[in-house]
């Protein structure tokens, strides 16, 4: 049952785990975050375009400062920072490709930035030099600026230089550069006098700088314009979109799986529910069966109990029959005494020599004997009465003493002594007193009968009480009779098994069943030629049944008569240990 439950729990748990996993996996990327990433990538693209446009504007002297170039670069940097922040917050599983693209882009932007710095720096110099060159060349080519003394050479050189420089500005090819360099060298060689000289010096200085810087600047610009940044931005976008599409697909697949797993879980739970319901139906059915069985068993038990009571009653009648002669003798004693007292009284009344005190005394003795006879008859009546067993708290020691009194009537038939070894202050047992008395009577009578063929030694019967284990009181009836063979012992408790010619073979079997009906056990040990010992246990009466009124009842019924009789018979009262000798009782 536990194993089955464990299997159900683990299956349900696994299904729940799968559903949870699928649910987590099926949550698609936050659409706002997706839009944000695309926006950032678009801004990157835009900033990159702005950068290139502004560089061209600057190079074409259409923009005279670098603020917008810096602005575009700054924008690129900031958007890259945004992307890095988004990437660091993202938990996407396959982000290696993306971070690879990002690293490429970032490195390229850093490269671009360095080139832009070079470009600005060179462009500033170039523009400065161009403005000087233009200004100085205007100064020297102004009509009349060149003194006649300067000669044809200077004028011609300047006239060749200016178109060459124009060519350099508009088509910075190597031929033009070479030509202009040549003319600049010639100009430098002419070494005109001041103040013209300083102008020419400036022209040469700035002209050479222009020739040196122009190719560098244009190379930087060309590199920047063909920079792979735009390509990397597009790569980043397409990689991101690929990854996003894959995530969306994966989420979609997981959603389908989630649906399937949820259905499975639902079906499984439904299955469990149906099972539970049918299980409870079966339980109700078997419950009804059990109830029926129990009532049948109860009826059978009732019947058996009634039978048992019948049997016990029959056994008591038989016991009574066996004890009849002894009882008759016992009754005869008070009757004889009564007869004697009555005759004595009559004689004294007739003769008239008896004092009224003497007659009164005799009458008192007479009525005591009447009471005694009545008690014996009362006990016989109660013992043979048909009755249902009724348990109550019973003082086992008192009950044993009581029973031993009854046994003393047997003294005519048997030569025996009964020794009592009663443990003091035992708790009451929970038992039916008549049945317990019946058991003790039966056991002691069995002992007496076991002696019949061994006259030389008087039979010795010992009855002991003690606390047994487990809340039980143990009673032991031990005799020094002839004992039983193991074979006989094995069948001693069988019904209708007897070794006695006149026995019914019911005594031990009934005794055992009566003890067991009261929650105790009865067993025997025997050694041939030595004697037999029978033990039985009875449960100690619990607090609830230790009712004082019921115990008072016992005292009224048995206790009073018993104590009176003991005093009367042998004058010795010993609660713990005393001997009742058949001989002594017999006088």
């Amino acid at each position: 049952m536990t194993r089955v439950t464990l299997i159900h729990v683990s299956i349900t748990g696994t299904l729940l785990g799968v559903v949870t996993h699928l649910f987590v996996q099926s949550t698609s990327i936050d659409p706002e975050a997706h839009v944000r990433v695309l926006e950032v990538i678009d801004s990157l693209s835009q900033a990159e375009t702005d950068l290139r446009r502004n560089l061209l504007l600057v190079r074409g002297d259409l923009l005279l400062h670098y603020d917008t170039v810096n602005g575009a670069l700054g924008e690129l940097r900031e958007r890259l920072d945004d992307l890095r922040l988004i990437a660091s917050a993202s938990t996407a599983p396959d982000s290696e490709a993306l971070s690879g693209r990002f690293a490429l882009l970032e490195a390229n932007v850093a490269q671009d930035e360095e080139l832009v710095e070079q470009f600005k720096w060179h462009n500033a110099l170039l523009r400065n030099s161009w403005s000087y060159f233009a200004q100085k060349s205007r100064s020297v080519s102004r009509p009349g600026a060149l003194p006649v003394s300067a000669g044809e050479g200077l004028s011609r050189t300047i006239n060749r230089l200016l178109p060459a420089m124009m060519l350099v500005q508009h088509q910075p090819r190597s031929e033009a550069t070479e030509l202009a360099a040549l003319e600049l060298d010639r100009l430098a060689a002419l070494d005109p006098p001041t103040p013209l000289g300083s102008h020419v010096d400036s022209m040469v200085k700035h002209g050479r700088l222009i020739l040196r810087l122009s190719p560098t600047l244009d190379a930087s610009l060309k590199t920047l314009l063909t920079s792979r940044t735009a390509g990397y931005v597009n790569d980043l976008r397409s990689t991101y979109l690929d990854q996003h599409r894959r995530s969306v697909n994966r989420a979609e697949n997981h959603r389908v799986l989630l649906y399937a797993a949820s259905l499975l879980l639902l079906a499984y739970l439904a299955f469990l529910f149906i099972r539970l319901q049918s299980g409870s139906n079966a339980l109700a059915l078997s419950n009804a069966g059990l109830k029926k069985e129990m009532s049948e068993r109860r009826q059978a038990e009732d019947k058996a109990r009634a039978l048992q009571a019948e049997l016990a009653h029959a056994h008591r009648l038989s016991l009574m029959g066996e004890m009849a002669s002894g009882l008759a003798h016992e009754l005869n004693q008070p009757l004889t005494a009564i007869r004697l007292y009555a005759r004595g009284c009559v004689r004294r009344l007739k003769s008239g020599d008896g004092t009224p005190e003497e007659i009164l005394d005799a009458m008192n003795r007479l009525s005591a004997q009447v009471l005694r006879a009545g008690e014996i008859l009362g006990w016989i009546r109660s013992f043979v009465k048909k009755r249902q067993p009724r348990t109550s708290a019973v003082d086992i020691n008192a009950l044993i003493r009581e029973t031993v009194e009854l046994l003393s009537y047997e003294r005519r038939n048997h030569d025996f002594s009964i020794e009592l070894g009663l443990t003091g202050s035992l708790p009451c047992v929970k038992a039916d007193k008549i049945e317990v008395q019946q058991v003790i009577l039966n056991l002691t009578r069995n002992s007496m009968e076991a002696m019949d063929e061994r006259p030389p030694e008087p039979l010795r019967i010992v009855i002991r009480t003690a606390t047994g284990g487990g809340g039980m009181i143990e009673v032991v009836v031990e005799d020094s009779g002839r004992g039983m063979t193991p074979d006989v012992l094995a069948h001693a408790f069988d019904s209708f098994f007897t070794t006695k010619p006149q026995g019914m073979g019911l005594g031990l079997a009934i005794s055992r069943s009566m003890v067991e009906a009261q929650g105790g056990q009865l067993w025997a040990t025997s050694q041939e030629g030595v004697g037999t010992t029978v033990h039985f246990t009875l449960p100690v009466a619990g607090e609830e049944s230790n009712d004082s009124t019921e115990r008072d009842g016992i005292v009224v019924e048995f206790g009073g008569s018993r104590s009176g009789r003991v005093e009367h018979d042998d004058g010795r009262a010993g609660p713990d240990r005393r001997r009742i000798h058949g001989d002594s009782l017999r006088h």
Partner: protein, 337 residues
């Protein structure tokens, strides 16, 4: 039900109409419109009248700017070197000489540096945060650490409450930097007379100043000193036509410029072109603070950067023009030390 919906619609229309009306009113008196790239054909762009910043954060940044707890021994605040009452710098050749600390470069003005593409003489720092990080731990400056600074600031219940209110997560390095950056953006000096001229007020400049501007352009100064900050937006080598350092002598490592950051040979003696905004009130000049007079600085620049010996007249005119670049902070013109 129907009535209430109609009522709501009516309220909405009224609100919309109100908005339109307000819009019309606002449009009737627009702030002076700037071309994003400045007046067509001009290399210099007027400073924006304001930069966007969060006033609460800037207020916190201002407190921090004046707070000496940013330094280990409690003697230095940002304001110690960037005196906002006097040009946004310290007026010294090199900072901290008197205290025996002796910084290596002249303190640049903090004004308008939020508009520069990089910070520091050699443009080491892209962001203010990087510069502050460095200054906090610089043994010649704050000589402290973030742990120490944040510990001191957190112990101040006023800061703790203000940061919690403004940022939510209290005094952190990130938030301190953001507050300082917000305040930094408030440190601009718009409305210089030259900017007024660029915005169309022809009488904002004297004829001499206009002449100085023309010279500034024709001599080629404007090749590097252009844009909103009249510089501050590119790198340039110091000494194109003449060796500045040879003529000054005593070349030190700090003179290597951007080379110290990149290690590239072409970056030797390359510096960030400084802004000329408020140049008249931020003497002494150059990264070594070696020139006290603006005229001398102009002469030196002509010599080494343009390869020209400028005449005294030219220098006088240019200096006059440069004086027109002094702007206003909190509505008052920037003053010299």
């Amino acid at each position: 039900m129907e009535r209430s919906r109609t009522g709501k619609q009516l309220t909405l229309y009224l609100a919309l109409a109100g908005c339109c009306l307000l819009g019309t009113v606002a449009a009737a008196d627009p702030p002076p419109a700037d071309f994003p790239n400045g007046p067509v054909g001009e290399p210099i762009v007027p400073l924006p009248l304001t930069l966007e910043f969060d006033p609460d954060r800037a207020a916190l940044g201002e407190k921090l700017f004046y707070d000496r707890r940013l330094s280990r021994d409690g003697t230095l605040a940002c304001v110690s070197c960037h005196n906002l009452a006097e040009g946004g710098d310290d007026g010294l050749v090199l900072p901290g000489r008197a205290e025996g600390r002796s910084g290596e470069v002249n303190t640049p003005t903090i004004f308008n540096s939020a508009l520069s593409f990089r910070l520091g003489w050699r443009g080491t720092y892209r962001r203010l945060a990087d510069q502050v990080d460095a200054d906090i731990e610089d043994p010649r400056l704050m000589n402290s650490s973030w742990d120490e600074v944040l510990g001191k600031l957190r112990a101040d219940s006023g800061y703790a409450a203000a940061f919690a209110r403004t940022y939510g997560d209290g005094v952190t390095r990130q938030n301190v930097l953001d507050a300082l950056a917000s305040f930094h953006r408030s440190l601009i000096t718009p409305n210089a007379r030259f900017d007024q001229y660029l915005r169309g007020r022809d009488d904002a400049l004297t004829e001499a100043e206009k002449g100085g501007y023309r010279l500034f352009k024709s001599l080629g100064c404007v090749s590097c000193h252009q844009g909103r900050n009249i510089g501050g937006n590119l790198f340039q080598k110091v000494g194109i036509f003449a060796d500045y350092f040879a003529s000054r002598g005593n070349v030190r490592e700090i003179d290597f410029g951007r080379f110290l950051d990149t290690g590239a040979q072409h970056d030797l003696f390359v510096f960030r072109v400084p802004s000329l905004r408020n140049v008249a009130v931020t003497a002494p000049y150059f990264h070594d603070g070696s020139v006290a007079e603006l005229g001398d600085a102009v002469r030196k620049m002509g010599e080494i950067q343009l390869g020209e010996s400028l005449t005294d007249d030219e220098i006088r005119l240019i200096v006059q023009f440069l004086h027109s670049l002094t702007g206003e902070y909190q509505g008052r013109p920037i003053m010299s030390e």
